[in-house]
């Protein structure tokens, strides 16, 4: 079993193979290979002893695409490498997705309306905080994909904006994480 994860700007392939001796594993981090001994504690956390004799404690949880790992002070999310999808930050989409899970408080544009860069199109609220979703460029509102008062998840499309001169080629923003 192997998983390729994002480490800063790099993608690193992870794998571990059990050795014949109980509790011993060979771990591969990309091209590097390490030998470790593992003890599992009562709460499911690990005590891992490395080649140099140093032992560290680690706990692991798992959700959809990430592992949450606390190891040696500090927790990190270990996520699948984004690979071919090219980073996929919401900056590309132009901010027309929900920036956070929340409730659509107000929609301040209408289908067919010409809007200018920086104009507020939707206001989303979560945890007592409001966030304005603004037009990333001049354009025309092709579609309003949300409703006032409705809960949306991070990355859910709210507005479809077309280029002002290309009304026939909408650029919808696809939800990347359809979780609320």
């Amino acid at each position: 079993m192997s998983r390729t994860v994002q480490v800063g700007d790099e993608a690193v392939a992870l794998a571990a193979r059990a050795s014949a001796r109980p509790g011993e594993y060979t771990v591969s981090l990309g091209e590097r290979h390490l030998h470790v001994t593992v003890r599992v504690a009562g709460d499911g956390s690990l005590l891992v002893t490395r080649d140099d004799g140093r032992t560290f404690a680690a706990s692991v949880s798992r959700d959809g695409t990430a592992l949450w790992i606390t190891a040696g002070g500090g927790t990190a999310r270990v996520r699948e490498a984004v690979g071919g999808r090219g980073g996929g930050s919401s900056a590309d989409g132009g901010g027309l997705e929900a920036p956070m899970p929340g409730k659509v408080l107000r929609i301040t544009c209408a289908p067919g309306e010409a809007v200018t860069k920086g104009q507020t199109l939707v206001i989303v609220e979560a945890m007592k905080m409001e966030h304005a979703v603004k037009a990333p460029r001049d354009g025309v509102v092709a579609e309003v994909r949300c409703k006032e008062g409705v809960l949306v998840g991070t990355g859910e499309p709210l507005i479809v904006l077309t280029e002002p001169d290309l009304p026939d080629h909408p650029s919808p923003v696809v939800a990347k994480e359809p979780t609320p």
Binding site: M1, R39, V40, S61, R62, A76
Partner: protein, 509 residues
Amino acid sequence: MTGVPVRPIAKVLVANRGEIAIRVIEACAARGIATVAVYSEADATAAHVRAADEAVLIGPAAANESYLVTARVLDAARRTGADAIHPGYGFLSENAEFAEAVSAAGMTWIGPDAFAIRAMGTKIAARERMMAAGVPVVPGTHAAGQDLDALAAAAAEVGFPLLVKASAGGGGKGMRAVHGEAELRPALEAARREALGAFGDGALYLERLLLKPRHIEVQVFGDRHGNVVHFGERECSIQRRHQKVVEEAPSPGVDAALRARMGAAAVAAAKAVDYVGAGTVEFMLDASGEFFFLEMNTRLQVEHPVTEAVYGVDLVGLQLAVAMGAPLPMTQADIAPRGHAIEVRLYAEDPAKGFLPATGTLLRYRPSRAPGIRHDGGYIEGDAVAVHYDPMLAKLIAWGEDRQHAIGRLVRALDDWEVHGVITNLPFLLAVARHPEYRAGNLHTGFIPEHFPDGLPEPIPGEDALIAAALADAMGLGAGAGAPTGAERGAGGDPSAPWHLLGPWRGCA
């Protein structure tokens, strides 16, 4: 003592949720007082519901259909026979009408009288009342005339540095910082031009400019017998967009003499509105050591635990006692700080993305249990964090013999805190606690924008974390997967069995 009737409290309805509801419930329980929780549909299994003796559903998730609906809260209190209501902070805690309605319903309101809530509720009115009571406010003046000579005379009165503001203004337009006499006239002229252009009104207003001010607040407490004491100050300068993040007591910028002066000012402020119960007087303290009234919070404060740790007092217990009509059991002379305490607030927010709120399920949630560490939380492992309420999940308070000891304990506790499943500001809290300027006590309200202008990037997994990730996949560990937890093993296996040695027969499930 002075004829104040004693009204025992047998059952308290807590009109709040999350950590503060639990805090109040625990205080009542330790005194043998029964408790009633209220909850929205989103909170049906929340920790505060589990902590209370009884719980009443008061509406759907939206706070303005549940926790903020006075009629529903009052109805829940009536139905359960509660004889007092504690509002916590936020929600209805500074709602004077609600305070009156509680009293009108024959129940005890655990908080100040509606009069005091109202008196401190409007900033401008409160400022004027404080000036009348001799409490220092930020010096400022509308000049008698608006010609440059009159403004220059007014400036001499206010003192430098000062801020020139457009009387009609807002948004920084017509605003100029002036650091000395020489800069004054050009600044006044420029400000007037801008103000005229922006608002069509060139009237200017002068206010003292506070340089790198500290946010210092004083905890006050009044009873129904006319006594008011203070429990020193808290420093809350580490804030982001007026949301406090790290608080401590005592302030590294306040010595005993200044504490006495600020305490006296805070007591004067409280007495000016016949204050009863727990309240907080907020000040700005400038680099020169002058302090100025900002506002008064007429309720228990989120950061009250640092005061409790340093002054050895249970402020919620004191609220209950005072609400029953008891006199304060101490005088000012009995009150002295001991050691140092720091509170951090764990928010479900992403420091790498402009601190946007985050949600999820707490797959693993294990706060430190080290000595000197207090954890006031509203969630436990397995709980869902949803979008409906405040993003604050918990507060962690570290007490130490001195400030460095408290910081040492805090850093260790933050390091140990396992929070999986929800993105939080935990790495950011660690970065603040480890920052050399924080350790040096060089705090001011611009600390976060100055030292963390871009928040904090997401932590990059270290090598140990990657090893654990590889092993977890190979061994099928993590939620719901193959690891034999103690529970699954069942009780009483062979105590010498090598459960800690996992061979391939357990891996790759």
